[in-house]
Amino acid sequence: MFDLIVFVILVTLGYFFGRLAEQRHFKSIKQREHLYRSVLCFSSRFPPPNPTPVESTLVAGNVVISIDYFKRIAASLRGLLGGRISAYESLLERARREAILRMKKEAKFKGATSIFNVKLETSSITKGKNQQVGCVEVYAYGTALIPVNRG
């Protein structure tokens, strides 16, 4: 009985704080995406032939986001029934967009206008550990092109 009460409290706490954090995060992501729209991202390895001289540098951004208890239970229930784990879909979406944003921020700080060869790496930090709230890391990196003014 005591275990059940603890469980319900954890799920409720997880739901409210997790949802609050997610809503705030999405709001901030949308604002900053607008802010860094001028930095263009490409997945192709090489930029198209361009007469303007550029300098290139590596830019990267990474983020680690933890799931909450509610998401964990919802996902494990999903694991029994099958189907889309929507609780994790939003989590990964946040992580990807945040990682790209951090990369773009670095690029903008260095004066770049575009990033080529953008790649994303995802890893689960608490992989294989039972009875632990998991978290996900997304790492975004690419080659930023900085236009050079030669008088």
């Binding site: 509610f70 229930l77 029934l81 929507s86």
Partner: protein, 282 residues
């Protein structure tokens, strides 16, 4: 070449559904399925357990009750009397030959009698003192013999262990202390609660046996009258799952009407020990 950064519409990867609604749907589905599986397991356990040979049940009982104080053999007048009565009733109940019944008379004030694993019947002094006739005592004993004949104790054990194991595995308490707590003697002595259906069947069979033995059913209702008079506050745990006492008395009275006539109750023999004890009290 001119590149643009279009605004990507939201909601492609993340669907705007209410996570709570989804959560409760899944919770209901999973718990519903668990309940169905549990019920199926229970029914299977109860059905399968009746195929357990009686010999095995006796061995199991010995293993569990091995050194229980209730089961020490005693050679007293009352004990012999109970043994004889059970033996005679067993014949009328068509008890299979390999079913050995052992009665244990316990000198305690508890107003109770019960049947448990391995063909053991426990009768407390408290109940025997309150019963006014041999007919009433025969009804009690026949009722317990019927339980043993129907394999009710081992069916209840199977049911209890299934629920216990299922609950333990859900709670994730898969440690070794679990199996020992499931098989503890205290569980069997106090928590051997039969279902309503089992009780009703035992009542019916017991009544038939008593009628076959005495030729009438007078006095059979006395056990239930004692239980009623004893009041709810003193209602022994064992009787809590029995059909409503009133209903049982009514049922017996219906049967008694079929055997109308002037019947005499067989009195209980006067036990030396009992009379001595009474005189000390008075």
């Amino acid at each position: 070449m001119i590149y643009q950064n279009p605004k990507i519409p939201e909601g492609i990867n993340v669907s705007e559904s209410n996570p709570l609604k989804d959560f409760f749907f899944m919770l209901t589905a999973v718990s519903g399925l668990t309940a169905i599986v549990l019920v199926l397991l229970l029914l299977t356990a109860e059905w399968l357990v009746k195929f357990t040979p009686f010999d095995f049940e006796v061995e199991l009982a010995e293993h569990i009750f091995g050194n229980s104080e209730y089961f020490s053999a005693e050679d007293s007048e009352k004990q012999n009397y109970l043994d004889k009565l059970v033996e005679q009733l067993s014949v009328y109940q068509q008890l299979p030959d390999d079913f050995a019944i052992t009665v244990h008379y316990v000198e305690q004030d508890t107003v109770n009698a019960y049947a448990t694993l391995g063909g053991h019947i426990v009768v407390f002094e408290g109940l025997l003192e309150k019963l006014g006739s041999e007919n009433a005592l025969a009804m009690v004993l026949a009722h317990e013999i019927a339980h043993i004949k129907n394999r009710d104790p081992i069916a209840t054990l199977g049911r209890g262990m299934t629920v216990g194991l299922a609950l333990a595995s859900i709670a994730g308490l898969g440690n070794s202390s679990m199996s020992t707590s499931l098989l503890s003697p205290i569980n069997f002595l106090t928590a051997m609660a039969f279902s309503r259906e089992q009780e009703q069947l035992a009542d019916e069979e017991a009544l038939e046996a008593v009628i076959a033995y005495y030729g009438h059913a007078e006095g059979a209702e006395q056990l239930f009258e004692i239980l009623q008079a004893n009041g709810h506050y003193e209602m022994p745990e064992f009787f809590s799952s029995h059909p409503m006492t009133k209903e049982r008395i009514a049922y017996i009275q219906r049967i008694q009407k079929q055997y109308n006539g002037d019947h005499h109750l067989t009195p209980l023999p006067i036990f030396k020990l009992q009379s001595e004890k009474r005189s000390i009290h008075e």
